[in-house]
Symmetry: C2
Subunit: 383 residues, 2 copies
Amino acid sequence: MSSQPNHPALLIPGPIEFDDAVLQSMSHFSHVGAPFVTTFGETLSMLRKLFQTTDPSSQPFVISGSGTLGWDLVAANLTEPGDDVLVLHTGYFADSFSDCFETYGVKSTQLKAPIGGRPQLPEIEKALKERKYKLLTVTHVDTSTGVLSELKALSELVHQVSPETLVIVDGVCSVGCEEIEFDKWQLDGVITASQKAIGCPAGLSISMYSGRAIEIFQSRKTPPGSYFASFKNWLPIMQNYEAKKASYFATPSPQLIHALHTSLTQILSKPLSERFAAHRAASQRVKKAVADLGLKQLASNTADQANGMTAIYLPENVKAQELLPNLLEKGVIFAGGLHREIATKYIRIGHMGVSVTDPQRDDIDRAISALGNGLSDAGYQKS
Amino acid sequence: MSSQPNHPALLIPGPIEFDDAVLQSMSHFSHVGAPFVTTFGETLSMLRKLFQTTDPSSQPFVISGSGTLGWDLVAANLTEPGDDVLVLHTGYFADSFSDCFETYGVKSTQLKAPIGGRPQLPEIEKALKERKYKLLTVTHVDTSTGVLSELKALSELVHQVSPETLVIVDGVCSVGCEEIEFDKWQLDGVITASQKAIGCPAGLSISMYSGRAIEIFQSRKTPPGSYFASFKNWLPIMQNYEAKKASYFATPSPQLIHALHTSLTQILSKPLSERFAAHRAASQRVKKAVADLGLKQLASNTADQANGMTAIYLPENVKAQELLPNLLEKGVIFAGGLHREIATKYIRIGHMGVSVTDPQRDDIDRAISALGNGLSDAGYQKS
């Protein structure tokens, strides 16, 4: 249950609702003492479990910053100026990731899908055969469209067609609510943030890299293009903390890392498969309700629909700027559109973390009921 | 009073002790709602007061990240590859700031003082006349040595001798406890972090730039060298939030920003002059106690001694790795040395924020008494 039972249920595609214990762990905590060193070290080790990697050469990072910082980590460390990268485009975030690569002098080629879709394997295969790409990026769940990408088959394809190309996943809106098997699927990098399905306050960039990715970094011909986002600066820090040795490059946030520790402990206290199943079940309930209301999702293909969020086209005469405040009065917070081309035409519902996994919470019921009533208030009737 | 009265007093040169209200403000908070937009906007406006700037062209930034990120903000936005910068060296942090500049292709010249000292105006004048520097950086308080730099006379000199050179202050360990008059002293940039004298949990990079610095950014010939640290990405966000309009580049941390809002509200509820006087008074008590114990500070010149921390040489036979755990048992946490050349030979005491300003706290008394007893336990007697 929430510490503020009367506050509106936050049901956007992240940040999400917190568990009380997560919030309580953000109390006084020194970053120099042995307890914090242990907490930070354990947090890094728990991330290995969350990402389902047992390969000791995999490397987790936890750095103060927004999820966006993860793009700089990839671009500044795993690519060098002049490199080519292939960015699979399923919405807003691919554009920004491309901008990030260009900042570091890297040539970004986008493979764009129509809105609500995702690039298909045959066209990806064709692109990979046309040019040698240092890495390929895929947005696992595009928060702007609710489109889920399929990682396993994609990674298999990349390893077959262009085995030297690193497979990099933007998992900001997927880690913690969508299945990710880092080792088995041979991923090279997954970046995420604390505030989405991991259920921790915003402010931490979280990522995992393969031994192969770290080797690519270590064999760079040019130094990393960023100082704050440099693996050169952070790698020894992460390795030291995981070995329970304090180490300094920049002051970490003991409060946020302690909250992350609490959150990961909760997540890992049950089999991950149960967690993913709970998210799929909640998602199905939301998506059925949306269909029952006669509404369409941006992600038209069932296989492409995310399990932690749903993006819904509004009926013709319903305006987001009127519906969202009405829903807030009903006690739920949804998000407006984010995809530049259609931002005003749709809304987004997040269903991640405690809103989904805590059986004592009724956030999903409230969301479904408020959506129906809100649309009805707006004069919408299912045709 | 602290929410955990029995925890050891954290008396290191940051992060520092928090006020309960600051911690309590880190509760549930959505980053999309109107309340957060107002909080973030007010926070940016309050920073203008903290930095004592009324010039509307000054620009505050609050970004998720460590204090270290502030160096990237300066190097990636205010300098271009090939530029020359002059870094005044008073310890560890100048080395790192120089590394940061070099990362972005900028040529860094260091003006080094002997340990415990600071570069003197005549040598700075000489350096400024020898080469044209795009900017000069000064560590206001070097956390590694406790050396305080004099900003007013320095900035006057720069404006006289090399008026086009920007004056950039690393104020990580000074903003909130040392006098800074941004407008009056004609500073162009002051970077800091949330966890030192501002008294907020770590995780926010906070900075203020002059209109002149922003113009230098806007007239760049090359794009900024970083994506996450790019003014191009953040400037519209900060300007929108201060105008109370939500805006998106990367997800902010509502918890940390709310905590910062609470902390700034407390700081600004009294005249800043009182706050600085309280820090000077506490500092004098600590420094007198240190002298009474027959110990020497790294900063040998009284005028060069910081008011928010004290760095003390240990007696010959006292080892930091034995003294610090003994002090922890006595209920106070001090920090070890950080300056590479003498790290094991000294310790650091922080006296910032609520430990100094809250009359109900006895942190400073406990610190002084524990230090005396700890040294006595270690067999030290004043000679």
